[in-house]
Subunit: 426 residues, 2 copies
């Protein structure tokens, strides 16, 4: 229930009622949403027919009930309609998509469970039978390998018990790490696992949550058999892109189309329908196994002018694997060579990636790169540094010996290495 | 002089002669270049009229001297023509632009001095009186702060002794670091300082060196008063972009248009003429001072899921400044908060940037960011992580106290902070 000044304005109108709110010469018509959408007593929230929620400050506002309009109840969600009995599991992990604004401070806090989130968009239940539950609720910067493990197990459980696909709502900051981790850990995956988030919290009028969530559910029902990230494809609120888990990266701090596929085009797009390219892995039958073995003692080491060789030596003393974010085609200052050589001598694999993100490493071109290759550095091909980091954790967890580590790092296990980088993909 | 099989093919034709080389049904007409262009005795090099050098393998090739053609001598370069007496200094530091291919191994080695490089393109002398010399000759991954200092001093010397602009030939891997360092160190700069490189060595037919170098010289003569990077604007060999030193980043490992301005559009473009926007600092008179004070004990610390808090603690023990490459709008795992708090308590500034590169940090939106702000973390606005790293070295070198460090880090000293990030720049 609304309270305070918002309750005064509404004068007993129940959430779920179709209303018109007039304010400052503008009129907002739609379904009055429940108060849990909002953190204070000064706003009412109306879901417009476009699917957007608008928060309207109450001062100077006037509300009327739309005569003869269908009376809809927004929460609790309606019982599953005839969606062909197709089940999509929605697993909540926290993040902006499940947050709300504290209007007193302007800050955003985790607030909604996955169920509440779906309840805010009741029309999503027309797409599929949605089974929502919370796995954990954290801001994604606090996601750790132990969370990846737990999530992989939960996803496998859902897929093995009848879900046609899984949607994971997740904070955007580290979404690509989790996506990669799931891609490496889910063996035998033949169904869509879709990570989705929002750049603006769900209770904001400008939130990208609705389109992202709707698109994610559509992708979860599609002919796809891999882990993907679904987020806005452009600034406009019409189409989402489907990015392969191991090729995607958050490339803008705030834009709704912040996520970009790097070194390969997106697998597809989602508007009113899902359009997927030939590159994707298709849906298939079979049990999914979560192989959650990870060697967590891996470091992602950034090489740059002035970096201290002692920092690398410290890492070699403490870690079991090193992924270097080098420069250009895979170079590091020569001052790091002794540390790299020692790591390799001690059986600690060193994988080279590039800080340019786009393009692939090619260490045969320059004498310095050839020297690193001759030491035994494993070229990361066109893997993103973050993906190589997650992959090395996985590979060190599952490989029997160093030969297998090398072989697996050079093999594309989940689409993370493209055979040839197309120069036009940039 | 050519030797071996190449000498046999040429039968005494001297470099500088206009020739036609027929091979495999194709004909290459141009000026025979001197042998120093090439590392073996199996190729001859012809400079086509387009300005490109083509290396032609001798087997099956036939050479004829073009009858009646003007006989040009490619090296040494002709004496400075009437270019209005305008002097551009060209300082060599090494890198691909000054390298050649070892055709035996396919590897690329540093080979040319700046003089030799200009000698390979004699028509460049028509643009200005070029004063070329080598400052040092290293691959750019080995560039260290001591090289930035020396280069700043050399650039200031050239500008204070009559040069209208300075071109610095540089390896591309760390070019943006050096560009930023010069931008912060050159006080009172009112002339163009242009860093330029190549993605393919100058003796390769596909080299981007000629257009980049010609464009750099043109920019060095233009109405500009700041440090810039000039490199190919697209895959085609027609136009270069002029990037502000503090806004540019190498974003592809191999493409000739690898350099991109981030969070602001390029300052301009160069084809047959130089077109610069209003955002640029214009040319002005006055002495340039190289303020080479740098605190080298600064670390660029990457924050990501699974990063070890002990790694940060080690850094806080050893460094005088920390730049964090955080996630999203400027977040880090909470496990790093104690290390950050200790750094700030001990008077070690901590600056937050984002791994998304595009967009700016905004730490007021989420409670976690607000906590970091309340500890005293300095938001890096829309500075690239690498630029904030170089800037913090500079600021710690020149500032009197922590208040001044904070004030300078939040002030745009060389265009590194844009007042407002335009969302369309992505």
């Amino acid at each position: 229930m609304y309270r305070g000044r918002a309750a005064e304005l509404l004068g007993g109108i129940e959430p779920g009622t179709r209303v018109r709110v007039h304010k400052g010469g503008r009129t907002y018509e739609g379904i009055l949403m429940p108060r849990s959408e909002l953190g204070d007593d000064r706003h009412v929230v109306v879901k417009l027919d476009s699917g957007y929620n608008v928060g309207i400050e109450v001062s100077g506002a006037r509300v009327e009930v739309v005569e003869g309009a269908e009376r809809r109840v927004a929460q609790p969600p309606p019982p599953p309609p005839a969606a062909g009995g197709r089940v999509v599991s929605v697993l909540g992990t926290g993040g902006t998509i499940a947050s709300r604004v504290d209007y007193a401070t302007g800050a955003v806090h985790p607030a909604y469970t996955a169920e509440e989130l779906l309840g805010a968009y009741p029309e999503l239940a027309e797409l599929a039978e949605l089974r929502a539950r919370v796995v954990f609720s954290i801001l994604s910067e606090n996601m750790r390998p132990e969370h990846w493990r737990r999530l992989a197990e939960e996803v496998a459980r859902e897929l093995n018990s009848g879900a046609e696909g899984v949607v994971v709502t997740h904070g955007t900051d580290t979404m690509s790490f989790t996506a990669s981790a799931l891609a490496f850990m889910l063996r035998g995956l033949g169904k869509p696992v879709v990570l989705v988030g929002a750049q603006r919290s769900s209770d904001r009028p400008s939130s990208d949550a609705y389109l992202n969530l709707r698109s994610a559910i559509r992708v979860a029902l599609s002919d796809l058999g891999e882990v993907v990230v679904v987020m806005h494809a452009s600034m406009s609120d019409e189409v989402c892109a489907v990015h392969r888990a191991t090729k995607v990266r958050k490339m803008h701090s705030t834009r709704r189309d912040a996520f970009r596929s790097i070194n390969s085009p997106p697998l597809g797009y989602v508007g009113e329908e899902v359009v997927l390219g030939e590159e994707r892995r298709r849906r298939s039958e079979g049990e999914v196994v979560a192989d959650t073995r990870l060697e967590e003692r891996v470091v992602l080491f950034k090489a740059y002018p002035g970096v201290s060789p002692e920092l690398l030596e410290w890492c070699v003393d403490r870690y079991r694997g090193v992924v270097i974010e080098g420069t250009g085609m895979g170079h590091v200052p020569e001052s790091l060579h002794p540390g790299i050589e020692r790591a390799l001598e001690e059986g600690i694999p060193v994988v080279m990636t590039t800080t340019t993100l786009n393009g692939r490493v090619d260490m045969k071109v320059y004498s310095s790169g050839r020297k690193l290759l001759s030491m035994g550095v494993i070229p990361g091909e066109d893997m993103l540094p973050e993906v190589a980091y997650v992959k090395l954790m996985h590979v060190l967890g599952v490989a029997e010996d160093m030969d297998e580590v090398r072989r697996l790092m050079l093999t594309s296990l989940a689409g993370e290495i493209t055979p040839r980088t197309l120069p036009e993909v940039f």
